[in-house]
């Protein structure tokens, strides 16, 4: 391990002197956190246009039921079938409710009444929420009426749903723990790759290789300051998350930090792997992006893992981000313990070990 301490000291000095790196490490996460902290992906208040041909007390009651779910906001009334459709095509509204002229009469006669609900299918999040809400409205009203006719006081089954861990279903609670993983992926991989490619580009790596410093000592000495930086970044993001965005950590903070360390090792190895295949910093950026994009798209951060096709699900299992996101959400949102998370931890450990071994080998090859 000859040369480890001098390289470590030198790298730390260069890192602190290089303002760009520090700004990148602290400023970028802050901006992303703010953006994701204020975004709400929960669907509420879908813009709705109504074509009410019945114009009766009954039809108004039904529309009230729609509005009372808070999923629908009536923004306008259409004079015709065509106008209703046009409002959706033009994007003025995402749902349209059409009540036929015989609605009230059939209801009073105890015959089934039809209501047409048009839903804009071009946004799957909105359409699925609207579909569920619209069905809910019809079922609730039908059930209540059937119960009354049968003379029952109560419905046979009543559900009492309780949303655990995130009672207000705030998306920030779900997104920010995932964001922690994604942000670390960026800085861990890219900064580590840069640190080494920069030396290769400037020829200083070759100069180091003619000294008695061992290649392992050089790599460790260079990467350790970035591990520290990534850790600082992690603490900073967790601080913003709990204090500014009020997302509490339900589980153990030491457990989270300890598991993050494994994740960071995996990331730095990924950076080292990138640096072994990139001659210039530009190439390093391109290669990192090839690794980072799947880490965002396929890790469960944006799309749930269950929505991925089988082939992509295999890819997602190989990504360290997938397992760390599971761990971060588990500890932060559900208060999960080590025992609850052991599968993700084991997967992360295996991936980290493979990456560390593979990247040091690749690095060795490039210097001889």
């Amino acid at each position: 391990m000859r040369g480890f301490l001098p390289v470590l000291k030198k790298e730390a000095m260069q890192m602190i002197r290089d303002r760009g790196t520090l700004q990148f490490a602290l400023f970028v996460p802050a901006i992303q956190l703010v953006l994701f902290g204020v975004i709400d992906t929960n669907v509420k208040h879908v813009r709705t246009v109504v074509f009410d041909q019945s114009r009766t007390q009954e039809s108004r009651q039904l529309l009230n039921d729609f509005v009372n779910t808070s999923y629908f906001d009536i923004v306008g009334y259409a004079p015709s079938d065509a106008a209703l459709k046009e409002a959706i095509v033009a994007g003025h509204a995402s749902t349209g409710v059409e009540i036929p002229p015989d609605y009230a009469r059939r209801r009073l006669n105890g015959e089934p009444a039809d209501v047409l609900v048009l839903i804009d299918g071009s946004d799957s999040t909105i359409s699925s929420a609207a579909l569920a809400a619209a069905n809910g409205v019809a079922f609730a009203r039908s059930a209540t009426e059937l119960a009354e006719r049968a003379g029952a006081k109560d419905l046979p089954i009543r559900t009492h749903p309780l949303l655990l861990f995130n009672p207000d279903s705030r998306s920030a609670n779900l997104l920010i723990p995932g964001l922690v993983a994604v942000l670390l992926t960026f800085s861990g991989t890219l900064l580590a790759a840069f640190a080494i490619v920069r030396e290769r580009e400037r020829g200083t790596l070759e100069q180091l290789m003619v000294t008695p410093a061992s290649p392992v000592a050089v790599v460790l000495g260079k990467l350790l300051p970035y591990l520290a930086l990534a850790f600082m970044q992690l603490l900073f993001v967790l601080f913003l998350m709990t204090v500014v965005f009020r997302v509490p950590i339900h589980g153990s903070l030491p457990l989270l930090l300890g598991l993050s360390a494994i994740y960071l090792f995996a990331l730095l190895s990924m950076g080292l792997l990138v640096s072994s295949h990139a001659r210039t910093q530009m190439e390093a950026i391109q290669l990192s992006q090839m690794l980072l994009l799947p880490s965002i798209m396929l890790s469960g951060y944006i799309f749930p893992l269950s929505s991925l096709p089988a082939a992509l699900r295999v890819v997602s299992q190989v990504l360290p981000a997938t397992h760390f996101i599971a761990i971060a959400r588990g500890v932060i949102i559900r208060g999960a313990s080590f025992g609850d998370l052991w599968q993700s931890v084991a997967a992360l450990l295996v991936i980290a070990a493979v990456l560390v071994a593979g990247s040091t080998r690749a690095f060795h090859k490039t210097i001889t």
Partner: protein, 332 residues
């Protein structure tokens, strides 16, 4: 080669080749550098000079052959070799975002120097290279000559026995060049073996021995003065003369070349260096050239220069191989 002989030489290269895929960058090169000697490595770009130096520094493994530095096999005892050598690459390769002092401290500590010893060796290297006034300056803000001195200082603090310099004077002004060479002589005087690659003939002439590499092969090796006397440089039946032209030599260059008894012409300021048939007298050459230039021409016999040696050998090599590389064609 006995162990005793291995110890007498700072560098021994025996039949070393190196392939990069299908390309042979170095082809069976052998050379011996006695301790305390400055050995010059010459040859056009891409001839294999840097490859040889990088093999000797342990940065590249030779495809075949053996190399010893300070008596140690480079391929087998790489780590011990690295403790005993210094390497100044062609391109400045220290940290530009660190100061002179920080760079020196860093490299000294990588070599395992500590505290008082580190300080003593550092100050010695600073004194030797006179870089003291720039201690606190960032390496990026140094001029080319000072950068090269810093690189040299950084490679000297661990007192290497063998020093490799890859075109250390490229792009440096003549005064800095002269001073750097004085430094190299000081080091050689202390017993350090130096291998220096260069494009400058005046630098080559200062070396104890030189080798000329061309297209991965070593064409010639030896004492610069002996090389100029090689029979193939001035073949039997020819001799070399200098024609001093009062009205400038450039004007008569092409006429001189078309004279039937002239084998080769090179221009040197206001004079032409001619390789002519031995039986042609000075008077006749002077007369022919005066006719062409309409001015006075003085002829005197000269020795071949080191440049003549390399130009001549390159031409012979091209004729032998029956191929004319594009670069050589353009300069003819």
């Amino acid at each position: 080669m006995s162990e005793q002989q291995q110890r007498d030489y700072g560098i021994i290269v025996e039949g070393v080749s190196r392939d990069f895929g299908p390309v042979r960058a170095l082809d069976k090169v052998s050379l011996h550098v006695p301790r305390g000697e400055i050995y010059g490595l010459l040859g056009p770009n891409g001839s294999g000079k840097s490859t040889l130096i990088r093999i000797l520094c342990g940065l590249l493994v030779p495809t075949e052959g053996q190399a010893f530095v300070d008596g140690l096999d480079v391929a087998k005892e790489g780590e011990e070799v690295r403790r005993r050598i210094g390497y100044v690459p062609q391109k400045f390769s220290l940290y530009e975002d660190l100061t002179v002092l920080e760079n020196l401290n860093f490299f000294a500590s990588v070599y395992g120097l500590k505290n008082a010893q580190l300080k003593e060796r550092r100050e010695w290297a600073i004194g030797l290279t006179s870089i003291g006034p720039y201690r606190q300056r960032l390496a990026a803000q140094l001029s080319g000559g000072w950068k090269q001195r810093l690189a040299l200082a950084a490679s000297l603090m661990h007192r290497p026995r063998v020093l490799f310099l890859d075109e250390p004077t490229a792009g440096i002004d003549p005064v800095a060049r002269r001073e750097l060479w004085n430094l190299l002589f000081t080091l050689a005087g202390e017993g350090v073996t130096l291998l220096v690659s260069t494009h400058y003939m005046d630098e080559a002439e200062r070396c104890g021995r030189v080798a000329y590499l061309y297209l991965s092969r070593m064409l010639v090796e030896g004492d610069p003065a002996d090389l100029t006397k090689l029979p193939e440089i001035t073949p039997a039946g020819t001799r070399r003369v200098e024609a001093d032209c009062e009205e400038g030599a450039a004007a008569v260059m092409s006429q001189a070349r078309s004279l039937p008894y002239v084998e080769d012409v090179t221009i040197f300021g206001n004079a032409l260096h001619l390789l002519v048939k031995a039986e042609v007298a000075d008077d006749r050459i002077a007369r022919d050239l005066e006719e062409a230039s309409h001015a006075k021409v003085t002829i005197r016999p000269i020795e071949a220069s080191l440049e003549d040696v390399f130009v001549r050998l390159t031409r012979l090599q091209i004729e032998q191989r029956g191929e004319i590389p594009a670069a050589a064609e353009a300069t003819r």
